[in-house]
Subunit: 136 residues, 2 copies
DNA sequence: GTCTTCATGAGAATGATTATCGATCACAAT
DNA sequence: ATTGTGATCGATAATCATTCTCATGAAGAC
């Protein structure tokens, strides 16, 4: 049904994949583009967007929206459904599994007669090191 | 510290507030602007954005991001912190309180050494009537 | 090597949101 | 009712992330 067009292995796609693997946390398309170029890897911005989108659909990367509405991508170490705890200051990210939340979501949905329910759950905070640095 | 400038009651602000009260579910700034004008209420787009932002900060309205990154606003009936269960098809929205989630978030945060934690939790699904209409 | 087709990328286009800044209006005091 | 003052408005220009266009380049099949 979903006819997947063939995926080719190009220098650019490899570069993006490796960059994300090395990064660990979330990066925006703009950042990836800029940093790849700075690192001597000529690549077009459009390509970065296209590739990230494709990877996100394929489940190779995770996507979240930053507070100002930009999309940020990250290589998933955990496959399957999970959530994130992101440091508001340095961007460090922890992947989280939460059976509690899944269960809760399912219950609530049922209570209200909703079906086919998905959810977005993201936690934002200050990680240990950033928190220590910031004197409130 | 946070010196709030005085808030004046203008025709435009009233119009927006009333529009949202009547709407019930989420509307984007663009929609609000367009519909208010269509309804014979001259108002500037900039004003709509400014007002919505102010109202959101004051907690008078709720803000969520749509899938394509637009901001949508809604008059809150529940004051204080809460989440939403939004119908993917018709936009109907239920407000939800979830102590479980709050507690879970706090726990996770602590476990990972994060402080100052906030969270975004939104559920999307098909409401009873839309679900019935959609034959999978 | 050749061919077919997908991928690339520079730049233009889109579209939401924000900034600008003089004109206007709300409102407290006269 | 009039006035003074600063908040507010709004048309429009400016931003900025993201998407589109389409001619050129490269992958993979044979």
């Amino acid at each position: 049904m979903t006819e997947q067009p063939q995926r080719r292995t190009t220098r650019q796609r490899t570069a993006i994949r490796e960059f994300l693997s090395g990064a660990g946390d979330f990066r925006t398309a703009q950042q990836i583009h800029e940093q790849l170029r700075a690192g001597g890897d000529p690549i077009g911005l459009a390509t970065v967007y296209r590739t990230l989108q494709t990877m996100a659909e394929a489940g190779d990367v995770d996507m979240v929206r930053t507070a100002d509405g930009e999309s940020a991508y990250r290589r998933c170490t955990t496959s399957g459904h999970h959530h994130h705890l992101v440091c508001r200051s340095c961007g460090r990210t922890e992947e989280i599994m939460a059976k509690v939340v899944e269960a809760w979501a399912a219950t609530i949905a049922a209570e209200h007669g909703f079906t086919n329910v998905t959810h977005d759950v993201e936690l934002y905070g200050l990680c240990a090191s950033c928190g220590a640095r910031t004197v409130t």
